[in-house]
Every structure is written in C-alpha cells, then in structure tokens.
C-alpha cells in the first residue's frame, strides 16, 4: 500500500479502513449480545411477587364463587333422567 493510501484511511489518527470498521462492528455486536444475556439472566432471577399475587387472587376467586353455590339432593327421577341423557346422547367421533 502506498503512503498516500495509508494517509487516506488514517485521517486525524482515526482508522477508516474496512478492517477497522468490521473489527469495531464485531466488538460492538459481542458487547450487545453479552449485555442482553446478562440482562436476561438477571431478569429471570428476580422473584416476581406479582405473579404469585395474581395466582392467589385466581384461587380466592374460586372460593368466592363456590361460597355462593347451594347444593340440593337429587331425586331418584332426576338421577335416572340424567343418566339416561348421558347414555342416549353419547356418540363417538374420533
């Protein structure tokens, strides 16, 4: 490489060559990827109390729903009618 070309790619001490660009891009890429990995690891290790709260809230909702239910004893006829319905409406479609 001639001296003129060398001075063209190195203006004010900054290397503008293709090689330097790829090198910087590569290092930048590695840095971003590593940052993402670390951030993900940290985020996944933070206990999320909100999730537990939401889950418990679902369970308590079941309590509230079941609290309002009233059960009554089925008569013999009712039971027979129900079983008959189960049997007659059964159909197998795989």
């Amino acid at each position: 490489m001639s001296e003129d070309k060398e001075s063209e790619v190195k203006r004010e001490g900054v290397d503008f060559s293709k090689r330097a660009f790829i090198k910087t891009a590569l290092i930048g890429g590695i840095a971003v990827a590593s940052g993402a990995v670390i951030a993900k690891k940290i985020a996944s290790n933070i206990p999320n109390t909100g999730l537990t709260k939401a889950s418990v809230s679902d369970e308590l909702q079941q309590d509230r729903v079941m609290k309002d239910k009233e059960f009554v004893v089925m008569s013999k006829e009712e039971k027979e009618r129900m079983v008959k319905m189960f049997v007659s409406e059964y159909s197998y479609k795989a």
Binding site: V37, E59, F71, M82
Partner: protein
Amino acid sequence: MPAEEKKDVKGRDISRRQFFKEAGAVSAAVAAAASSSVVGPEEAEARTTFAEFFQKNYRLMTDEEKKEACDRLEQRHSEEYGKKVTVDGSPAMKDVLFGYALNIQKCIGCRSCVHACVKENNQSRHDAEIQWIRVIRMEKGNFNIEDMNKGYPNTPNEPFGTKIGGNAYKGAGVVLEGQHYYQPERVPEKDAFYFPVQCMQCENPPCVKVCPVKTTYRDPDGIVVIDYNWCIGCRMCMGACPYWARRFNWGDPNLPAEEMNPKTHYLGNRPRMRGVVEKCTFCLQRTRKGRYPACVEVCPVGARKFGNLLDPASEVRKVLERKKVFRLKADKNTYPKFFYFID
C-alpha cells in the same frame, strides 16, 4: 496480485478471505455461546421449533400430524429435562364416558389428592404454585334435627320475637373465604368438613363455548381438554367456568427436572408454558390406559370413585343409583360429570 504478497512478515496469511474466515468463526463461536446461555435447559420456549409454532389445532390434525407433534415434543422435553419423556396422543376410548363421584362425608381434608395431582400432572411447584384441586374447609354447622321444634319466642305472650332454645344461636355452617389454606395439626378437625373442587368436566361446558380459538373442546369420553399450543391466554374460559376450576400460568411454570413426570399426554400433563390455561383432565394419560386418576388412587379413605357412566356396573353408576347425590341448586344446565354424594 501474486499469492506471496498476501503474507505478513511472519509468513501468516493476511488475505481478506482469511480475515473473513476467522471473523466468521469467532462470531459463530460467540453467537453459539450467547445463545446457549440464553436458552438454558429451563427455557422451553426458546427450543420451540418453527414446526411447533405453525402446527394446526390438535383436533384438526391428521393422525400423522398428531404423531409428528408428539414426537417433536418428546424430543424437546427429553432434552430439557434430561430424561426420556414420552408424549402420548391416545384418543378417547370407544363406549366410555367418564364420571367422578366424591363422598363429601368421608373426605378428611388431608389434601393427599392435591399433592398427588400436582406430581402426576407436572404442575408449577412455586412462584406461582398451581393446583388443579383445591380443598375448601367449611365450618360444620351444629343444627340438631331433634331440636328443630324446641325453640320458643322470647316474648312470653306473643307468638313472634327472638327465638331462644332449640337450635337458636347454633351455627348453620358457612364457607370461610380463604379457608383452603388451613394448616391444622391433624385432620379431620372436629368442627369442619372439607369440600374438594376441581374441573367438573361438564357435559355442556360453557368454557368450550366461549373459547375464541377453539383450543378447548370436549372429547368423546367427556373430558374437556386444552391444546396448549393454541391457547392465547385470553382467560375467557376461566370467566365462563361456573366453578372457577381453571388455572392460568401467569409466569413460566417452575417444574424441577427431577420432579417431572415423564409419562405425559399431549392434551394432559405435558409441561405447559407461560400464558396458557390448564385444568384437571381426569388424568387422561392414565385413564385412557385403563388406570384410575392419581387422586382416586391416593385417597386414603376411599372417598373418590371413578368410572364409566355408560356402564351400569361401574362404581360411579352404582353411586348414582344408591347414594344421596347433590346437584347445584342454581343449575346452569352445564350437566357436570363430577358428583358430590353422602352415604
């Protein structure tokens, strides 16, 4: 340019091709390292294949597609959990309609059924814990049939007023909110009875009607199933369920590899993902092979009965025939196939 000129003073190849080759190798190594640390063995989603993303709704698949879907999951879960995981796709058996009966008088509230269910069905163990069966503790009322007509009004010469004597001031029995977190030293407690709740496998299930993507449906054996891959997590089914028996995965389920049950079913106990709904399936991975559900098998007092509603000789049909069976007073015509009874 002659080839010799591309070498540096130490004789190393410094051509552009060589540079890209080395840079490519380094980048690939870095990317592989980064991705392996992102994925980790616990990240089910990261290993999900494109085929899995684009697969059809399970009930619309051909037998071949179903087998492919199960094979894909088997391979992925085996890698994730470090053991041989099987994902079964057994369809409903012919001439079988499953029914369940629970003797509320016998239940001692030990919650063995809850723990057996959690283990069998690969439910999230913590943060957040998921349980398909909840046992609600109820206060026992102390009304006495003999005292029904023994009370009398507090006002001597009037036939009305506050009643005293007889059953007055005796508790009628109520459900206390949050009482499925009871922790007594021993069960059963003297003043309580226990009320286990789980999916009732309705014959006319409202949850199926509201599902916008038809991912939940009733199989011919009466079990209401969910294709987790198609669930969009809208929670419509949860709101529609009259018993609030469905559970939602708010976060990634926590299922330790050593506790994972490797015998799974596509529509049942295979590991679930964040943002999907799950619920009791009468252990279809067992019952479709002629076995009892885990909760029936583990119940120490034999309070749980299970069988084929189409078979007059089955346990559940015998219960319906001979025992006092309860139904919900405000019946929404859902026809649950889970019955509570007393002797």
